[in-house]
Symmetry: C2
Subunit: 494 residues, 2 copies
C-alpha cells in the first residue's frame, strides 16, 4: 500500500523529488512489492494536493532508475531493478566496449574522515573571514566591471588581477622585466600546464621524496619519468640532487623550498643558492612551488629561489588557496615570457580561462587590504596550532619517534620507531576518531612505512592535543605489543 | 628635469605605481636622458608629500624594468633599457635553453576587434541579467553553505549542483540510472579530459568539418589523429561518416548535432537515429556537444543523441556559458558511470575541482527560476538577431553567395562566390569597422577559402544590419573588381 509521507513545499528539495524519494524508499524496503500498481498520476496528485506534472516527474525518475515500468493505458508498476546495462560490462555485438576502453581504476587514496582529521593540508573553514568575503563580493558585483567579469575572458587571466600580482612580484624582486604571469585554476593546474608544455614526451622530472602527490600525478599520468630526491630537515638533499642531475639529466626540478608538503621542511638561503648553481649548470628548469611561503609563524623565510636566481629562469607558482579560500580556484605562474606564452596557449585549450568572478573577488580582497589583515589572523592561529602540535608530539609520542619542527605552513612529518607501520595503524586510529595520511601517499620511489603526515592548520589546538594524545597512546600500545611478541619469539638464551 | 604630474590618492592605481608610470613616461619620451640622476627617495618623497617607501617601490619597479640603475651611496641613474637577458634567447654555458625547450609559437588566430564584431560565438554582455545575478550572489553568500563553498571541494563537482543537473537530465530522459555526472570548468575542459581519458595514445577521432577549433586543438595537441567529416545543412554527412567509420576505425565521434558551431546546422531526428546505429556498429563512442541546444528561437529541436541512444553509451556535454555568464566557467558531462569515474580522476590532477563560488551561484540562478526567465529573454532577442542576420544576408550579399539558415544558436555560415577569399578580405572589412572569422579558422583538413562565420548573438539587430550591409558592399565590389580583371585577362576572341 503506497503511503507518501509529509511533502514539504518549503524544502530545498523540489516536490517531485520528495515524492520520488518517498516511493523509492518504499520499493527499496520491500513495502511496495514487485508488480505493485502505482496510482495514476492524476489520482495521486489529487490525494497529495500537488500538480499532476509533479507526480509525472517523480514517476519518470523512478522509471529511469528502473524501479517502475510504465504501460500506456495500464499504469505504472513496481519492477525489480534492471540488471546493469550490457554495454557497460561486456558487449558482444557492436556498441562501446567500456571495459576495454577504460583500465581498471587504481583505488584512489582519499583523505579519510575522522572526528579529528589531520588529513587535509588546508585552512580551517571556521577561520574564513566570511563577513569580509561578503563585503568584497558585494563590492565586486555592484561595481562597473561586472559585465566584463561575466563575459568570456582572456586565457592569460583577468587583466587587473594579472597587473596587480605582477607589480607586487616586481616590487618584491620576484619578477623581472623579462617575466610574465599566467593566472591558473589553482596551483594544480600550473603543474598540469607545465607537464603539457615542458614534459610532453616522457621527459625526466626530479621531485622531492616525499612529495605532494598532485605534483607527481600531473607528470606521471603523462608518462614523464618522475624521480624522487630525498628531503631532510633542511629541504632537498643537495648531494643526492647533484648526483641525480648528472645521472638522470632531468628537464625539470620541482621543489617546495618553504614549508614543504608533506614534511614542513624549509631550505636555508645558502642551500637555495647552491641548488640554483647546480640546476643552472645542468640546464634544468627549476619550478618553485611557493604556496606555503606566506605562512611563516615564527621568524622570516629565506628569499624565494625566483628572487635569488640571477638568470631569471626559475618558474614561481603561487596560489590564494592556502591563505584565503581554497574553494575559489585561483593560482598563478610567474616565469620567463616565452614560457608564459606557451603555458597560456596550453591553458586556452585546457579550459579557455580561469573563473573570472573568483579572480575579481580575490583581487578586490587583496587590494582592499583584507587579505593581509586575514593573513595576520591566520599567522596568529597557525602559530598556536603549530605550537600545540609540536608540544603534543613531545608529550605523547613514544620514545624513538622523530618529527620535523617547521616554523610555518600546514604540515609536519612524523617517523614512528620501527617496526610500526603508519598505514597499518590508520584503521585503528580512525576507529578511535583520529585520521592522518600515511607516508605511502607521498612516496615516489621509496616507501617509508613508519612515516605519516600531520596537517595541523585545519583543526583547533584542543583537537590537536586530543588527537595526538590518542595517536600517542595507540602507537605506544602497539609498540609494547610488538616488543612483547618479539621477546616471546626470541630464541631462548642458552 | 624630473617633474611628477598629479598624484591622485583616490585613484585605483597605487601611489607607487603612479610615480613609476610618470617617471617611466619621461624616460620613454626622452625628457629624462640616459645618465640623469634621479632625486634621492627622501628628497622626492618630501617634494610630493608621499611616504619614502612609496618612492622606493617606484624606483624598484623602474630598476626591475632596466630603466634606472642604483648605486649605493651615489643614487639612481636613468639607464638605457638592457638588452634581452641572454637566458631567453641563446645560452652557451649552463642555464636553461628556452629556445630549444619551446618550439616557435604558431601564430594564434584570435578574434579581431572591429566596431561591429561577428567574431565571437557568445552572448551579449548587455543582455546579462545583472540585477538578478546580484540578487543570486547575495543569496548564496548570505546562505549557510558559504563556508562549504569556500572550502576545498570534490573533483566531481559541488554536490548540490551535480544532483540538480543529474535529476533534471533524468526527468528529461537524458540520463539513465547507469549514468553519472562530472562538473567541468566549461565545455572546453570536457574535451581536454575526454582526450586524456579516451584518446591518450594518438587514437583516431572524427569531428565535423568545419569544426569549433577548441575541440580540434584539445585532441590534436595530444597528437590524436583528428579527421573531419563534412557538415551539410542537415548536419554531418552520414555517407561520409559511414565510410570514415569503416576506413579510419575511430575511437570517438565528436558532434554538435544542434545549432553546430560554426555552421548553425541541425541534424533531423532520423539522421540522429541513423548516426547512432552507425557509431554503435563501429564501436565508437559518440560525444555530443549540446551547448547550443537550449537556444531554439523557432520551433523545437529534435531529441538529443543522448536521449535517443538506447545503449546509453553517448556522452553528453553541456554548459551554462552560452545561456548565462561565460565568465563563470561551469559545464558538465553526463555519461556512463565508469567513464565519469575516469574523467573525474583526470579532472582531479588537472585542477582539483571547478570553482565552487560559480557552481553555487549558477545552481541558485537555475533553481530560483531566474535562468529559465533569462532564457526566455535570450530566446526573444536571439530570434530577432537571427532574423536580422538572415534578412540582411538576403538583402546585401552578392548573388552567388550561400548561407545556412539555422533556427537557433549563435552562428551562421556563409560561402562567398568564387574566387572570393574570406581570409584575404578580412583586413579590408576590419578597416571598414566589421570583423568576422574566416573559414580557415574552422578547417580540419579541407580549406574552404570562400567561407566565413557570422556570429550574430552578441550584437544588436541594427549592428547586424549595418555590418552585413558593409560586408555585402565589400564583397560585391571585390567580385566586380576580379571579374573586370579576369575579363581583361581573357584571351582575345579570334
Amino acid at each position: 500500500m503506497l503511503s507518501i509521507g509529509h511533502i514539504d513545499p518549503n524544502s530545498e528539495a523540489p516536490l517531485y523529488r520528495q515524492v520520488y524519494e518517498s516511493i523509492r524508499e518504499q520499493i527499496a524496503s520491500g513495502e511496495l512489492e514487485d508488480g505493485f500498481r502505482l496510482p495514476a498520476t492524476r489520482e495521486l496528485a489529487g490525494q497529495l494536493g500537488l500538480n499532476r506534472t509533479t507526480i509525472s516527474a517523480a514517476y519518470e525518475l523512478l522509471e529511469h532508475d528502473g524501479l517502475i515500468t510504465g504501460h500506456v493505458g495500464r499504469g505504472s508498476f513496481v519492477a525489480r531493478p534492471h540488471p546493469p546495462r550490457p554495454g557497460f560490462t561486456k558487449r558482444n555485438q557492436g556498441g562501446v566496449n567500456w571495459r576495454e576502453l577504460l583500465d581498471p581504476t587504481e583505488a584512489a587514496v582519499t583523505p579519510s574522515a575522522g572526528a579529528i582529521s589531520f588529513s587535509a593540508s588546508r585552512p580551517s573553514e571556521h577561520l574564513f573571514p566570511i563577513a569580509e568575503f561578503r563585503v568584497t563580493c558585494a563590492e565586486v558585483i555592484a561595481g562597473p566591471e561586472v559585465q566584463t567579469i561575466l563575459q568570456l575572458g582572456s586565457p592569460a587571466g583577468y587583466a587587473p588581477l594579472r597587473r596587480y600580482l605582477l607589480d607586487l612580484a616586481r616590487v618584491e624582486g620576484e619578477a623581472r622585466e623579462s617575466d610574465d604571469i599566467l593566472i591558473t585554476s589553482g596551483c594544480q593546474q600550473a603543474f598540469d600546464l607545465l607537464q603539457r608544455t615542458l614534459a610532453p614526451n616522457g621527459e625526466t622530472v626530479l621531485v622531492e621524496e616525499p612529495v605532494y602527490p598532485g605534483a607527481r600525478h600531473a607528470f606521471q599520468r603523462a608518462r614523464a619519468r618522475v624521480i624522487g630526491v630525498p628531503v631532510g630537515p633542511e629541504g632537498i638533499d643537495l648531494e643526492a640532487l647533484e648526483h641525480a642531475l648528472k645521472t638522470e639529466r632531468p628537464r625539470l626540478v620541482i621543489l617546495t623550498p618553504t614549508f614543504q608538503n608533506p614534511t614542513g621542511a624549509t631550505m636555508p638561503q645558502h642551500a637555495r643558492e647552491h641548488l640554483l648553481r647546480l640546476a643552472s649548470r645542468a640546464g634544468a628548469v627549476v619550478i618553485e612551488n611557493d604556496i606555503y611561503g606566506a605562512l611563516a609563524y615564527q621568524g622570516d623565510t629565506p628569499p624565494t629561489l625566483k628572487r635569488l636566481d640571477e638568470s631569471g629562469d626559475t618558474v614561481l607558482l603561487r596560489s590564494f588557496s592556502k591563505l584565503a579560500f581554497p574553494g575559489l580556484r585561483i593560482g598563478w605562474v610567474i616565469g620567463p615570457r616565452p614560457l608564459i606564452q606557451k603555458l597560456t596557449e596550453a591553458k586556452q585549450w585546457s579550459d579557455l580561462h580561469s573563473d573570472q568572478l573568483s579572480q575579481a573577488v580575490l583581487l578586490r580582497f587583496a587590494e582592499s587590504g583584507r587579505l593581509e589583515h586575514h593573513r595576520q589572523h591566520v599567522l596568529q592561529t597557525g602559530g598556536e596550532r603549530l605550537k600545540a602540535a609540536l608540544d603534543a608530539c613531545r608529550e605523547y609520542l613514544p620514545a624513538g619517534t622523530v618529527w620535523t619542527e617547521p616554523r610555518g605552513g600546514m604540515n609536519l612529518w612524523v617517523r614512528l620507531p620501527q617496526p610500526l607501520d603508519a598505514g597499518e595503524l590508520l584503521p585503528r586510529a580512525e576507529r578511535e576518531g583520529v585520521s592522518y595520511l600515511p607516508g605511502k601517499y607521498f612516496a615516489v620511489g621509496r616507501l617509508d612505512p613508519g612515516a605519516l603526515r600531520l596537517s595541523f592548520a585545519g583543526i583547533t589546538p584542543a583537537e590537536i592535543e586530543t588527537g595526538i594524545r590518542t595517536l600517542g597512546r595507540i602507537f605506544t600500545e602497539e609498540l609494547e605489543r610488538v616488543r612483547a611478541a618479539s621477546d616471546l619469539e626470541a630464541p631462548a638464551l642458552v
